[in-house]
């Protein structure tokens, strides 16, 4: 079988060929197509799709640092907030950017969101260089600290920017700076596709292997030649960048921001989706976010009031008994001699 494997995977090692052989890729393509079909055929409302894309977006963003490198960032909502505030403040105060965001079938909004993402990424890179020296719970606690630091700083700074209009940390965009939903959809969709591609590429690249090695045993990885510090910072920065972009477009969708964007609740969403779906894969967060979306709705319908209590219990069961999540669990099995992990990655 080992020999057969050799032939399958190809000793010539064409990277492209390697990517194309993965059924995962096909699944991902179908997920993207599903979103498009739902949108174009009008089978599902824009807001439902936006919510699905938002969930998927934040899960896949956090996945880069939590799923691959094993650093559980409990305060990751900080980048959601940074991205959101960066976006709204930019279009609030800078007229050219406000004009740009309405152009090019959503490409303009996408570009402004990239700027917002870059701001989040810059913070992630500089802060990451410091906090990524910490491991495990200390890292988690430090990110929570970051989140609250940012929250309170924004609460302090935002009202000063325009004392007439901004109270607390709430900003709403003036009527002429709101973007049509269709354009926001396009920008979000583009972001999601790129995010999926980045996740998939990382998973299949030496970078991803290095991150996984860091997750398994950072010291061993370091000695084996993995440039751990650099890899961690790059992963954290990427995660910050995409979370920031999603946060920016999420705020644009709502026409404004307030401090709830920093809520630990958002971090909770991200972590739960990854934990349910399975750490360290691309499919994990994708499936996890879909399950979470459905679960959330389902529990809401049948058990209103206690829905989130049940969710907590489900998470506990997953953590205690299926610590690797759905995909992680499937990866361990074979179907008719084929290791599912070959198909699921």
């Amino acid at each position: 079988m080992a020999a057969g494997h050799d032939n399958e995977m190809g000793t010539k090692g064409s990277t492209l060929e390697h990517y194309l052989k993965s059924p995962t890729l096909l699944i991902l393509v179908f997920v993207v197509l599903g979103i498009l079909v739902a949108r174009i055929m009008g089978m599902s409302t824009l807001d439902t799709i936006m919510t699905v894309m938002y969930f998927m977006g934040i899960a896949l963003s956090l996945n880069i640092i939590m799923g691959f490198a094993g650093y559980v960032s409990f305060g990751h909502a900080v980048f959601l907030g940074l991205g959101g505030y960066a976006y709204v403040l930019m279009v609030y105060f800078i007229k050219p950017l406000a004009d740009l965001q309405n152009t090019g079938y959503g490409l303009g909004a996408f570009l402004v969101a990239v700027l917002a993402g870059l701001f989040a990424a810059a913070v992630a890179a500089s802060v990451g260089a410091a906090v990524l020296r910490l491991r495990g719970a200390f890292f988690a606690i430090a990110t929570i600290g970051l989140d609250f630091t940012a929250l309170y700083l924004f609460k302090a700074v935002v009202p000063e920017l325009n004392p007439e209009q901004f109270f607390g940390a709430q900003i709403i965009l003036p009527a002429d700076r709101i973007v049509e939903k269709d354009l926001v959809f396009n920008a979000m969709f583009l972001t999601l596709v790129i995010l999926l591609a980045v996740n998939y590429y990382i998973r299949k690249s030496p970078f991803g292997v290095g991150l996984t090695a860091i997750k398994e045993d950072e010291d061993a990885a370091e000695v084996l030649g993995v440039p751990t510090t650099m890899y961690k910072i790059v992963a954290f920065t990427l995660a910050g960048f995409f979370t920031g972009m999603v946060g920016a477009l999420f705020s644009l969708n709502g026409g404004g921001v307030d401090e709830t964007l920093f809520n630990l609740g958002h971090s909770i969403d991200m972590i739960v989706m990854i934990v349910i779906g399975g750490l360290g894969t691309v499919l994990g967060p994708v499936i996890g976010s879909l399950i979470y979306f459905e679960l959330y709705d389902l529990l809401l319908v049948h058990y209103p009031g206690v829905n989130l209590i049940i969710l907590g219990v489900i998470v506990a069961i997953v953590v205690l008994f299926f610590p690797e999540g759905l995909i992680g669990l499937l990866r361990k099995y074979r179907v008719r001699g084929v290791r599912l992990r070959d198909v699921l990655e």
């Binding site: 030496p206 996984t212 398994e216 045993d217 084996l224 993995v226």
Partner: protein, 257 residues
């Protein structure tokens, strides 16, 4: 013959404790160097200094004529030094093959090879250490001996010129030790390696090493062929404690037990 590694006056302190005190030695390409000494002598610390995990307080490490002192571990690994861990550190949730692939991807040819090529390199290393049939198992399921061999395969995948083995034989039974020694010998020839090994299994290291360096409380107290070291009175009193042991090692070496 060219000197592949020069350790020049390396001192490493941890607070008040001096783990390495002006340790100097050099080794030639193709040599197997044994590094022995009682627990706490500073052997693993010295490995960590060579691989860049620790930065020495004084002294230099020169690899192939280049000063690599204080460079980060991943840079040093890429220059051609690989190390196995005293306590095995397999990546438990990765397969054996993937474990070895990490070595290949971040070893000498880091960033120059594709995943496919890395797989092939990894596979060859696994074959060398006799783990080819376990390639698709998760590392967590291996026995201790297999894990030790996996450490070796992972290091080999990096395609090093200098291999540092930290107690690779510890915890193995006599039969496994013999097998492991055979593998090390085979690997050395096939890969044209230079090897430094920390070892407590005395007869093994006496048997396999060309030269031996003895550390004691951070100091180098002796250096030479196994016979010279075994007969060195300082080593005998400081390390072996009982002269009769030394005699037995020499006999074994001569008799090829």
């Amino acid at each position: 013959m060219e000197e592949i590694l020069v350790v020049d006056g390396v001192t490493k302190r941890f607070g008040g404790l001096v783990a390495n005190n002006k340790v100097s030695f050099s080794m030639r390409r193709g040599e197997i160097l044994g590094l022995i000494g009682p627990n706490g002598a500073g052997k693993t610390t010295l490995f960590n200094v060579i691989t860049g995990v620790y930065r020495p307080d004084e002294g230099r490490v020169i690899f192939k004529g280049e000063d690599i002192t204080g460079k980060p571990p991943h840079v040093i690994t890429r220059k051609g030094i690989a190390k196995t861990h005293q306590i095995v550190k397999p990546f438990n949730d990765m397969t054996v093959l993937e474990n070895a692939m990490v070595g290949a991807l971040f070893g000498k040819r880091a960033h120059q090879i594709t995943i496919g090529q890395a797989k092939e390199i990894a596979r060859r290393s696994l074959e060398l250490v006799g783990l080819a049939d376990k390639a698709d198992e998760f590392a967590v399921k291996l026995t201790l001996r297999q894990k030790k061999m996996l450490e070796l395969a992972r290091a080999l995948s990096a395609e090093p010129e200098l291999l540092l083995l930290d107690e690779v034989l510890a915890g193995l039974n006599p039969k496994e030790i013999e097998e492991a020694l055979e593998i090390i010998k085979k690997v050395k020839v096939e890969r044209d390696l230079s090897i430094i090994m920390i070892e407590h299994v005395m007869h093994a290291v006496m048997n396999i090493a060309d030269r031996i360096v003895v550390l004691h409380f951070g100091w180098k107290i002796a250096e030479g062929t196994p016979e010279e070291v075994a007969n060195n009175p300082e080593v005998i009193t400081a390390y072996l404690g009982d002269p009769r042991y030394a005699l037995r090692f020499v006999k074994r070496k001569g008799g090829g037990e």
